[in-house]
């Protein structure tokens, strides 16, 4: 292959070139492979180097599914699978929130209760305003909370762990106070009075609409990938092999078909059928695409990665590190608001009993299990989705087996430890390479 940047000058670089070729296994296979076979080889090498991407989490998910299906035949029933998607949505969304700060090498422990505050504001507003004002109000509240924590952390140079731990406690107090003052809280619980907000999680698209929406998403994403490759080819840049892009689009299409087939199967009773894709799946997909575009295609996203990789280098390059970091905490808060509203929508209410600690730990666990590095600089929004599904599957499966909180927490903790260990080992492997 000849993807050299130039014709190498004589002898001096020969050895450097060899060293580079050696390490090229770390580059994304799309950009250096010329064929599907080569792609597979480079990808395998990356996995060995600890740059495994989504592979371990997908294998883990398969293992968990097989285990629970063997233990309980209900696990793979269509009703339970759809339930799992809906149940997992708050974990996934909180995980996405956490990705913003994990990419910086920070952590936000407050988003469990932060999200609950967003849900409370939304539930409260829903008594007197249209659903969308209620939702915007809830999101505004969590965005402001995120901005306040972010400002404290970045302007005063305080550790995020401590500041957000204070947020964790403070927000729980604020939640109790808000629910008490709302005048709608009975026994510490505010019901969601607006049926549209409830339908976020309990409403479904019609089966036909489910097909149309999911296929539209696949087609748009596919066309987008093909156009991007075409533009690169026209610019004379190295382009991923057509077969690799085709394989990716096919994978997306298959996943889409499976999700729609499962959700379109009747999961209700014969007399009162229940079919179609839950709305919340679209909420998660929308957030995934939005935040993926933000991280991958804007300066802001690039600077998040740069700061996570080497904050001093970013600063010297002229990046406004303080502003970007503050914004990351702000977006984390906002995304947590979405998660909180989805959570309350599923329960039909928001209560002071919400376990903000468990929620945030599941969120961090999901993001890290999915492949986001705890030390910053590496990770994607998609990681939070895959990891959140793993957490939701454990949660759901153990519930089906009749096991309650204690084993769920312990199993999740073990999976989290395993994920962090893999992460740390991969990091060590990379350093010594």
């Amino acid at each position: 292959m000849s993807t050299d940047v130039h014709e190498p000058p004589p002898d001096a670089v020969a050895q450097a070139d060899a060293a580079a070729a050696e390490s090229a296994g770390l580059a994304a296979p799309e950009i250096i492979a010329n064929s599907l076979g080569e792609y597979a080889r480079i990808w395998a090498k990356r996995v060995r180097n600890g740059e495994s991407g989504a592979l371990p989490v997908i294998l883990g998910l398969v293992a968990i599914v097989v285990y629970f299906q063997v233990r309980s035949s209900l696990f793979l029933s269509t009703g339970n699978l759809v339930n799992l998607l809906v149940q997992g949505a708050p974990f996934i969304l909180l995980g996405m929130a956490e990705v913003f700060v994990l990419l910086l090498g920070e952590i936000d422990l407050s988003i469990g209760y932060g999200g609950a505050i967003g849900a409370t504001v939304t539930a409260w507003l829903a008594f007197s305003t249209p659903w969308w004002i209620a939702i915007l109000g809830g999101l505004a509240a969590t965005t402001v909370l995120g901005a306040i924590l972010g400002t404290l952390i970045t302007r005063l140079g305080l550790p995020s762990f401590v500041v957000t731990l204070a947020g964790f406690l403070g927000f729980e107090g604020l939640l109790i106070e808000l629910v008490a003052r709302s005048g709608h809280g009975t026994g510490g619980t505010i019901p969601i009075s607006n049926s549209i907000i409830v339908d976020l999680t309990s409403g479904n698209l019609t089966p036909v609409a489910s097909w149309i929406v999911i296929m539209a998403v696949v087609v748009v994403a596919g066309v987008f990938m093909i156009l991007r490759d075409r533009r690169r080819r026209l610019s004379g840049l190295v382009t991923p092999p057509v077969s690799v892009t085709a394989l990716k689009i096919a994978t997306m299409a298959v996943a889409g078909v499976v999700v729609v087939l499962v959700s379109n199967t009747n999961r209700g009773l014969a007399t009162t059928p229940l079919r179609g894709l839950p709305w919340v799946v679209l909420v998660v997909l929308g957030m995934l695409m939005l935040w993926t575009a933000l991280l991958g295609r804007t300066r802001f996203g690039r600077y998040i990665y740069a700061i996570g990789g080497n904050a001093e280098a970013a600063r010297r390059a002229g990046v406004n590190v303080i502003m970007i970091r503050t914004l990351a905490f702000t977006l984390c808060g906002m995304t947590a608001g979405v998660a909180g509203i989805v959570y309350a929508s599923r329960l039909g209410s928001i209560s002071t009993d919400v376990d903000g600690g468990q929620l945030v730990l599941f969120a961090v666990a999901g993001a890290v299990i999915g492949g986001t590095h705890l030390f910053g600089g590496r990770g994607k929004m998609l990681n939070a989705v895959l990891g959140g599904l793993v957490v939701a599957a454990i949660y759901n499966g153990l519930y089906l087996l009749g096991l309650q909180a204690a084993p769920t927490d312990m199993v999740t903790a073990l999976v989290l430890l395993a994920a962090v260990t893999v992460d740390a080992l991969a990091r060590r492997g990379r350093r010594s390479a």
Binding site: D4, H6, P9, A16, G25, I31, V238, T298, A314, R316
Partner: protein, 310 residues
């Protein structure tokens, strides 16, 4: 007085390097210092009671490599930090392209075209080569990062410098060798149209091959009429790549002049004692060299003093 181009041609390492037009033009005017890109005039810097720099007069001409050598604590790092805006001098003035300037931050210096290449701190390991080269000045098109145009110009700059051969410029910088990282950092400076590139010990952590790569790159920068200031403890590197050598001793400039006037032993003497009894006369083979200069020790010292005024 020798000319930079003549001294350049006299050294084996510099042989084959085409002196840039500006460097040639510089020769005649060098005595007045008009053409020097950067000029330090009586620059001093104190850290409390420590006099890190005192009375430094130094010209940095475009298109030439100036090596700064000196023992530990001689003030080399302080000197280049002053040039790159990290420290402000306590005395004297800095003249950039004929105008006195005050640098308050590295960003001020970067705006003028003074780029400092740090070996460890300048790159993000998790970003790829293109992303690093454009960090802080990304190209935007239709509200999005314009990856293709950035990749094309990064590729162009790297191939112009002809120093690095990597399989893909989309590989993370963390997977590169020390010399390649150095090359990326330099290419970044070049792409940002730096007129002066300052490097603190660019080869300190590198093996033989990688050192060659970086030294070649430094030579190419000079050929693009960029002024290069290099700190190095490795005198072989200095002799191989530098057009001019400035020796610091205890914060003072012990000597400065074309590399041809020094040899390793002279530099060591100057570094350790601030003076040398074995100073060489004007470069052999230099057309402007006065044959009588090689005679007495006295006139050799004069030649060097004249060099200091360059």
């Amino acid at each position: 007085m020798t000319t930079p181009s003549a001294s350049d041609g006299a050294r084996p390492a510099g042989a084959g390097r085409a002196p840039s037009p500006a460097a040639l033009g510089n020769a005649a005017a060098a005595d007045e210092g008009q053409q020097s890109l950067l000029r330090l005039h009586q620059v001093g810097k104190n850290f409390g009671p420590v006099q890190a720099l005192a009375g430094i007069d130094l010209d940095i001409p475009a298109g030439l490599v100036t090596a700064i050598v000196g023992d530990n604590g001689a003030g080399k790092t302080t000197l280049i930090k002053t040039i790159s805006g990290i420290w402000q001098p306590d005395h004297g003035e800095i003249v950039w392209m004929g105008r006195p300037i005050h640098l308050h931050s590295p960003r001020d210096a970067a705006k003028l075209g003074i780029a400092t290449v740090y070996q460890d701190l300048a790159l993000c390991d998790n970003l790829d080569i293109v992303q690093n080269m454009f960090l802080g000045r990304e190209a935007i098109r239709h509200w999005q990062l314009d990856e293709n145009s950035m990749e094309l110009s990064a590729k162009q700059t790297l191939s112009d410098l002809a120093v690095m051969s990597v399989r893909s410029i989309r590989q993370p910088v963390g997977s590169l060798s020390g010399g390649q990282r150095q090359a990326v950092a330099v290419a970044k400076a070049v792409m940002q149209e730096a007129k002066l590139v300052v490097m603190d010990e660019p080869t300190a952590a590198l093996g033989v091959t990688q050192t060659r790569v970086v030294l070649d790159l430094i030579g190419r920068l000079a050929r693009r009429n960029i002024a290069v200031v290099v700190i190095s403890h490795n005198l072989n590197d200095v002799m191989a790549v530098a057009d001019r050598v400035a020796v610091l001793h205890l914060g003072r400039l012990a000597a400065v002049g074309p590399t041809s006037r020094f040899d390793t032993q002279v530099i060591v003497d100057l570094m350790t004692t601030g003076a040398s009894t074995r100073l060489r006369g004007d470069a052999a083979g230099s057309p402007s060299a006065d044959p009588g200069n090689g005679g007495s020790q006295q006139s050799q010292d004069n030649a060097l003093n004249a060099g200091e005024a360059l």
